[in-house]
Subunit: 240 residues, 2 copies
């Protein structure tokens, strides 16, 4: 669904409810709202003016070398808990939330000029809040996934993934179930919340301002859900 | 769509056409057939009997240490062009095709006992063949994506990705387009073929034997397509 421009302090759930009414969409029990993180961050005021940033020497150095804006690089450093890779003009970090992504998710598109948008403070909390508000407004339990597009090692292009999750199981565990030939399936845990986010991206479009997509008919069991479950723990991370 | 068990030499397109008829599905121009690689490999005879494998000393050593089948490990080694990581019981390789994935995509579920299924020899070629056959059979141009579920560094769970692509652009390039605030979008290339594969996985189900999913209504421009375009080149790979 299309939404008007979101500003800090806006009631996002109300905007979604209004857009739903205008567009005549029917919301049913179990529908999943995939929401681009950008409008969540905007409504939460996670916008930062570049002019307010005093870049460190390290940020200036890197920015000069790779023709970037040193203030943006400084924001990336501040949003990072840990630098994973920093070479060939690319900065991959682990954010305070635990997400490993390029530029700490700091975003310069679809923002007012001279500002950058950060990731939501706590995407799971944002998802839970929105889920409660939307479930109440629509009178049926719905789920919420807050998404962003991330790059991947080894594969070209970005895909949409789930940062915050509420009301849907982020992982579906097939282990112990039988396959078509009667053998137990092993090591088959599917990141369904990421797949739902990816599916939704196909109708979002980057430039088309469709920041909310309603996914209907998946019949995924009710589950409190958490985006944190999708973050790999250091013990199984071979690519730190 | 559900399909009967596929065996080497089976005409996969005929099986899909038959299943379509039985299930009364309408196929329209531009529909995208997402096909689990496993049935493609089976029809192409890419099944290997474990008893035919003489494991190397290295395979035996690794298998003993991590309680694996040394014959399977030997197949993984043979399918690999390059070992990316080999530790803590996990083997991540780059396959002969260029895909970086665990165990070279060698699969033991949904296979006859004592056999392993390999990736198709050339997934793009398989996709093109199937696309031509299905387009002819249905009388409208359709697209084909051959998919497999891959793990990711940093994120838990597998997601379905595109190995072979025919008739749909694997990447959608937003660069140069304007965002909602009139600024040029940068560095925004979306891996749509991977997202389509992920979307399809949500209805495939691992154990439910739904190896073909028809995606309708995406209106993605006609494009020859290639799964190779989704493989990151060594020059931009920070995680070799």
């Amino acid at each position: 669904m299309g939404l008007p421009e979101i500003a800090p302090g806006d009631d996002l759930s109300r905007q979604i409810v209004d857009a739903r009414k205008k567009q005549g969409l029917v919301i049913r029990e179990g529908d999943i709202f995939v929401v681009a993180h950008k409008i969540v961050s905007k409504s939460e005021g996670k916008i930062i003016s570049l002019d307010s940033i005093e870049p460190s020497e390290r940020a200036v150095q890197w920015a000069t070398q790779y023709h970037k804006d040193s203030r943006v690089i400084e924001i990336v450093f501040r949003e990072a808990n840990r630098i994973v890779r920093m070479e060939r003009g690319v900065i991959v970090v682990q954010t305070r939330h635990g997400f490993v992504c390029a530029n700490a998710g700091v975003d310069l598109s679809n923002t007012p000029g001279g500002t950058a948008i950060l990731l939501p403070e706590d995407p799971d909390r944002s998802a839970r809040t929105l889920q409660a508000q939307l479930s109440k407004a629509f009178g049926v339990p719905v789920a919420v996934i807050i998404s962003d597009t991330f790059g991947r090692p080894w594969r070209e292009g970005l895909v949409n993934v789930a940062l915050g999750v509420a009301g849907v199981a982020p992982l579906f565990d097939y282990r112990g179930k039988l396959d078509g030939s009667g053998k137990k399936l092993q090591a088959t845990v599917i990141a369904v919340a990421d797949e739902i986010a990816s599916a939704a991206e196909l109708v979002m479009g980057k430039a088309d301002r469709v920041p909310v997509v309603v996914v209907h008919g998946l019949r995924i069991a009710d589950h409190p859900g958490s985006g944190r479950d999708l973050i790999r723990s250091p013990e199984t991370d071979l690519f730190r």
